[in-house]
Point group: C2
Chain length 207, copies 2
Amino acid sequence: MTTAHAPIHSAAPAHFAPVPLDKAYRLLNHGPTVLVSASHAGQCNVMAAAWACALDFAPPKVTVVLDKATRTRELVQGSGHFALQLPTVPLAALTEALGTESAHTHPDKLQRHAVPLFEAPALPGITPAQSPLLVQGCAAWLVCRVIPEPHNQQAYDLFIAEVVAAWADERVFRQGHWEFDTAPDSLRTLHYVAGGQFYATGASIKV
Amino acid sequence: MTTAHAPIHSAAPAHFAPVPLDKAYRLLNHGPTVLVSASHAGQCNVMAAAWACALDFAPPKVTVVLDKATRTRELVQGSGHFALQLPTVPLAALTEALGTESAHTHPDKLQRHAVPLFEAPALPGITPAQSPLLVQGCAAWLVCRVIPEPHNQQAYDLFIAEVVAAWADERVFRQGHWEFDTAPDSLRTLHYVAGGQFYATGASIKV
């Protein structure tokens, strides 16, 4: 028997705290690179995406671009759900690898990179089989339900979804605010450019 | 006679250099907050937007969310064009102001904030009256042509556009690459959260 994913640590990580849905847009507002995960029919995959963006406040919505060549897109289309999660600086190399290797050509990519997965808390309207596994070590996680828009998906690879639950590492996102300046630097999020070049989220500027 | 915008400095700023279209996505990949400008029927406006994102490589496309209440959206719909530009750290307060004040209620907002505008180079297929004015002091500029998608615009305030020309400050984006670490810190771009809270683009991480 083979499994498409690394061993699941079913316990949520320490500091995993719910984020009210009306604050969920703030998790994406600063433009971080994300990991996209999805599960369907016993398969799970995780890819990296720089092209994810908030779309609305309440209910919170997001956009994400999922290329037709990706295995993750197939799982998203099968389950109608995905998670966006914000990798931190220590996950930069993993993020690059998950963004360049496809599960089509590297079916063992999650195992080879020992991607540490855990199960999201149970959510109404999502069966366990549809529920995307989440990646440990991220700064925030958003579980999203696809709003079917076939033209956008076909013409632009653009998926629109509603955020149905969100969590963050409470050391770095507290009471609806990012606290990068007082949290460990290892919790700073990533902004991808190209060719393995990222920038960390930098200095706070309050006006 | 009144004018809806501050005096135009028609000369492009120093260090204003063209970016090849196949590298234009890199200007947005790291998730910066943008200023959106548009001109139509002798009027110009500039607003801030955190929800802009790359959508495709070649031809480069972008998405941007433009609320129905904004004056800039009316100008975008009238002219079929807009510019996205990346404000730098010294422009944080201006960016916050341009994002919170509407030209509907503050018709003199560009004048009051002395927004320094300049004309984009002439572009094929864009009349001078349609050509968005650009904001001095930004790190990069992208002129975009709307791809009409009425359902997205109505249902989600989501505009899709093709990038038809791009430029960057050559001190910070050279040969297709951001060079934040060797450029003056005043050229770092901004990432907005909420309530006047920005983060600058931070440390380089190369994997």
